[in-house]
């Protein structure tokens, strides 16, 4: 018998440019206005209508044919789509692993039970911190009680649960309590996701970036909990790129493993790439997903390694980190192809160092800039 462990391969190591995950951003509408939202800034949010049910069904079918095995229904808030049930049902019929990425606000037990019955595989619910004051501060409204109630339903219905908390300087010291909470509510995974400073989060960076000591403490707590809770709760904490001095493998490479489709149907390599000027992306209603995936100019712009400049081009880590985040590089330097400034080898690393130094200084309290949609202007 062939050794069963001889060629265990995490999927990231397998075939080139086969997409594994469809990130279906069903709507940019959301009851929350988180100051670190990964949706594009309001000036980049198109006024085109959201895709209809049939267009999403077709997108799911085409994505599966391209090799996708997982779909994340996200947003904005995916619960605001009344056809979420129909889309989960369709994804399940394609044998896709389906995750609902939600704030849980507006969810009912009946609706969750229906989604579970239709084949939903996994639910991820965001918390903003241990108190409603945290939720209000970062998201512009309260809602912790509703979220905890929804978490209870997820467990009652025996759906696998991930609790996601975006960490920043105002809640990162709560990591021990957040770990206890996730354990108590029976989550399988706890994502302690350090804020990535692009888009909305970059606009609020001076208020959100933690100090090095805060990150070190949180990291230590998360590491020890990971060992202690192994087999019960999967505690995920990745050192943030600003402090690690190495870049994150953004989306596992540009147009490599993930297909992001925006609410209006634009096929993207990540949540924010439509903010990069000069890149032409296409909509699923214009051409087949397979054609777009293969030869769309925007998707090919930073695919692979040919676009890289030094020091990335000859760096050993280029196969691991894929050159980091193009959106971060552009938003900090104004150049798409610049080395991601989070890298300690980047010519523009001083931009990140300066932000870090400022985070060590005593903070002047400034009003957060909350995420808004164009119609909120």
């Amino acid at each position: 018998m062939q050794s069963p462990s001889s060629d265990l391969a995490d999927l990231a190591d397998a075939t080139r440019h086969r997409p594994y995950t469809l990130v279906a951003e069903l709507s940019y509408r959301c009851p929350l206005q988180c100051a670190y939202c990964s949706n594009p800034s309001e000036r980049h949010i198109p006024t085109r209508p959201e895709l209809d049910t049939d267009a999403w069904r077709s997108t799911l079918t085409q994505a599966e044919a391209l090799g996708v095995v997982q779909v994340h229904f996200t947003g904005g808030e995916p619960l605001l789509r009344r056809d979420l049930e129909a889309l989960v049902e369709h994804a399940h019929s394609l044998d896709l692993y389906t995750s609902l990425i939600t704030s849980a606000l507006g969810l009912t037990r009946e609706r969750l039970a229906k989604l579970a019955q239709l084949g939903l595989d996994h639910v991820q619910i965001s918390l903003q911190g241990m108190s409603d004051a945290d939720t209000l501060h970062i998201a512009g409204r309260t809602g912790l009680a509703a979220k905890l109630e929804a978490i209870g339903w997820v467990r009652e219905l025996e759906l696998p649960l991930t609790v996601n908390v975006v960490l920043h300087r105002h809640n990162i010291d709560q990591v021990p309590e957040l770990i206890d909470l996730a354990t108590r509510v029976g989550a399988q995974r706890l994502e302690l996701a350090n804020t990535q400073f692009v888009g909305w989060a970059l606009e609020n960076r001076s208020q959100l970036l933690p100090s090095a000591a805060q990150i070190a403490r949180a990291h230590t707590h998360a590491q020890s909990a990971r060992e202690r809770l192994r087999g019960r709760l999967d505690v995920l904490f990745v050192l943030p790129d600003y402090h690690a001095g190495v870049v994150r493998p953004c989306m596992q490479g540009w147009a490599n493993r993930y297909i992001v489709v925006s609410p209006d149907g634009v096929v993207l390599p990540c949540h924010q790439a439509h903010q990069l000027p000069g890149l032409a992306f296409e909509r699923v209603t214009e051409r087949s997903l397979a054609d777009i995936w293969r030869d769309n100019a925007g998707l090919n712009a930073f695919r692979g390694e040919a676009w890289m400049v030094e020091p990335c081009r000859s760096c050993e880590r280029r196969h691991v980190d894929f050159g980091g985040c193009r959106c971060q590089a552009f938003q900090l330097t104004g150049k798409h192809e610049a080395t991601d400034p989070a890298c300690r080898l980047a010519p523009d690393h001083d931009l990140v160092q300066l932000a870090r130094q400022n985070a060590e200084a005593k903070q002047e309290v400034v009003q957060l800039r909350y995420r808004r949609l164009p119609r909120d202007r």
Binding site: M1, L8, D10, L11, T21, V69, Y97, H122
Partner: protein, 91 residues
């Protein structure tokens, strides 16, 4: 390591799927996946929570009579350890 009398079961977040594109079985779970070879897939299929590790080894030994049982046992334990390290198996 799982004890010999444990009854391993794939964690509830894990789905075993035959991937028609690669012709291999994969374990899918939130955000990730693991590609299995044929031997690993056969073990994963037996991790239903109904069989002990010993019974899983026996079941494989029946289909692979030419392989030494000790070798099958070592392979099963090694694979279950790999799954346990990733929190993909309970029991």
């Amino acid at each position: 390591m799982l004890r010999a009398h444990a009854r391993p079961k794939l964690a509830s977040k894990v789905r075993l799927k035959f991937d028609r594109h690669s012709g291999r079985h994969w374990l899918l779970y939130p955000e990730r996946g693991l590609a299995l070879n044929a031997s690993a897939a056969r073990i994963a299929e037996l991790c239903t929570g109904e069989r002990s590790v010993e019974q899983i080894i026996d079941a494989l030994h029946v289909t692979l009579p030419e392989a030494p049982r000790s070798q099958i046992a070592a392979d099963v334990e090694q694979f279950l350890d790999a799954l346990q390290a990733r929190a993909l198996v309970e029991g």
